[in-house]
């Protein structure tokens, strides 16, 4: 699972707004530990008989002076059973505005982007799974003015 990003920041209404562009390459596999499977371990078994869809989301997690923990979902996608489980997205812009609660993005060196997903079964438990691999993004110390986005 790999992601690459570049970033800019801009102030709006006294809260920091961050802009992130990213690539996502992911292979959604799910190895169920401790379960005997009759399948070849190389095939993706996340979409088993009881999985209706996956709700994937890319979230940014970071700390600021104001708040010990912040999580912002930047992008999401619904992957239905039968869709290709391999993602290869390039130059994606975030779907949702990356507003901080305050001015904690400026100069923040450690924003972690992780890809996670919610498994929606045909019936049963709704687990949240975090993908392995994450990327740390630093934001610059200065604001940019009216960058076209």
């Amino acid at each position: 699972l790999r992601k690459n990003v570049e970033d800019f920041t801009g102030p709006r209404e006294r809260s920091d707004l961050g802009f992130v562009t990213f690539d996502i390459t992911a292979d959604i596999l799910n190895r169920k530990n401790g379960l005997q499977t009759f399948r070849n371990k190389n095939t993706s078994i996340i979409f088993d008989w009881n999985v209706k869809q996956l709700f994937l989301y890319l979230s940014a997690e970071y700390s600021t002076k104001n708040n010990a923990l912040n999580q912002v979902v930047l992008w999401d996608k619904i992957m239905l059973r039968g869709d290709n489980p391999r993602l290869s997205l390039k130059d994606m812009k975030s779907k949702y505005f990356f507003f901080d609660d305050g001015n904690g993005l400026k100069g923040n060196r450690n924003i972690t982007l992780t890809l996670s997903w919610n498994v929606v079964p045909n019936a049963g438990i709704l687990p949240l799974v975090t993908g392995s691999g994450h990327v740390s993004v630093p934001f610059p110390d200065t604001y940019e003015t009216t960058k076209s986005y």
Binding site: S59, A123, I125
Partner: protein, 178 residues
């Protein structure tokens, strides 16, 4: 043939009381199971029916959701929460898309339905921009499709509800254990 009317005439007072007590036991057990679920899950409403299509294609109107609401469970982005807007009775099932938590545990978060274009700020109270832990009824942990349709039908067609209750009542009162 109307055998059951003959049965009623043949029942004496003791049998009638027995049937009524039987019925009361069933009702009490059901209530105890419900209360027990409330205690075990920590949620005031451990089972909810999805009322709108705002979380499609994951959940549809009529699906049943099982909730927990443990106090120490942190609220995190991506979770599906059921919440009530202050002053309104209807529970809403949406996903958490933003979380800001302070060191002391104070948490505020924003939600959005998967199938909605915009976040839920329009649904919150006038001037309210964030939800807090106290607004949460529970977190969706499991789900069963279609099963909740019965309660929606009973709500939309009250005659159906009364008919169902009448049939159930007649069955329980007249059924005889040999």
């Amino acid at each position: 043939s109307l055998d059951f009317l003959d049965d009623v005439r043949r029942m004496n007072k003791r049998q009638l009381y027995y049937q009524v007590l039987n019925f009361a036991m069933i009702v009490s057990s059901a209530l105890m199971i419900w209360k027990g679920l409330i205690v075990v899950t920590g949620s005031e409403s451990p089972i909810v029916v999805v009322l709108s299509g705002s979380m499609e294609p994951a959940f549809h109107r009529g699906d049943l959701l099982f909730l927990t609401n443990f106090h120490d469970d942190p609220i995190r982005a991506g979770e599906i929460v059921v919440f009530k807007v202050e002053g309104r009775d209807i529970p809403i099932v949406h996903r958490v898309i933003k979380v800001h938590e302070k060191g002391n545990g104070n948490i505020k978060f924003l939600t959005k339905g998967d199938n909605n274009e915009v976040d839920d700020r329009g649904l919150y109270k006038e001037g309210q921009n964030w939800l807090e832990k106290k607004d949460v009824v529970g977190r969706a942990r499991g789900f069963l499709p279609y099963v909740g349709m019965v309660t929606i039908i009973m709500n939309d067609y009250p005659k159906f509800k009364y008919a169902l209750l009448a049939v159930m009542g007649a069955y329980v009162l007249l059924k005889r254990e040999s």
